[in-house]
Subunit: 198 residues, 2 copies
Amino acid sequence: MRTLGVLLFPEFELLDVFGPLEVFGHRSVAHHFRVTTIAREAGPVVSAQGPRALADHGFADCPALDVLLVPGGMGTRREVDDPRLVRWIATIADATRTVASVCTGAALLARANVLDDRRATTNKRAFDWVVTQGPRVEWVRKARWVEDGKFFTSSGVSAGIDMSLAMVAHMVDPVTANTLANTIEYTRHADADDDPFA
Amino acid sequence: MRTLGVLLFPEFELLDVFGPLEVFGHRSVAHHFRVTTIAREAGPVVSAQGPRALADHGFADCPALDVLLVPGGMGTRREVDDPRLVRWIATIADATRTVASVCTGAALLARANVLDDRRATTNKRAFDWVVTQGPRVEWVRKARWVEDGKFFTSSGVSAGIDMSLAMVAHMVDPVTANTLANTIEYTRHADADDDPFA
């Protein structure tokens, strides 16, 4: 059983968070993953689209994680300049077996210096901005997602669902990932290099 | 400007709610749609996957809606037997210009009798159960989504994103819907009859 924690911050992108949580929280993998949400403080966090989610934990009472997932969204533009949040990511990423980002969440991982000398990708519309946040990262312009060691980084928004299914294939097995995709009636991009939006 | 309200209930399916809210809440259509979440009472509502969302309004203070969206999820199995919730849906659906469901949310619309003598679809894995909730509905087994008059009903989970994009194409314009899909790097099923999961 792995504990997967998703970071929330004001103006997170809804689908960056809830696409992956649909996958990792699905009843068909409930004996493999426990999912939780984390923010500076437990409680309500407003998304970029307006609706609010609840963080189960604050930084102070964050449980030990096996997987950390950092979403993107307009809020990343501000969060990259918050030393406390960036330091929290660096600390947790060091202690965690698997680290993932969706979309501009890669900018936060980059600012925490955990992607240095690694291959990574991000949203195509915000690519040039994200690159400036991690000059030592080997940014990949054409990829649905990139896996490098313990790091998984996905392209924009919906690509987080494909990355999550690939992580389930990796951590559980490929048949389970395929069955899960079919159950949620999702047409997968199962190939990391299959990027129609590059 | 249209107000779109999404119904939340315990054990709603995350992607049924947040796929459509990603679309209707996207900044590119922010001058067309105002999105809000509604439950029996305002406050936290637990999803089928575990993470909690906040309902902005309770039934008692629900604003006037232009679009009502009813998600699916395991919770529908219980909610179909709650007369107060079913009556609320019937009342709001009557008063609302456009009504949509994702996945087994169609079972709740069916129990509210608002789909009688109309064509509708639902999740493929739960199809036979949903059919029993609406014997007078013309259920369509092969469809990514179905539009009949003011009603839009989608297939399972991810199909809600395609239906939402089709609704944006209908209510705003097709170019805006396509641009939005590309911005969220989502490979659309743009044809309602293109159902790979039937």
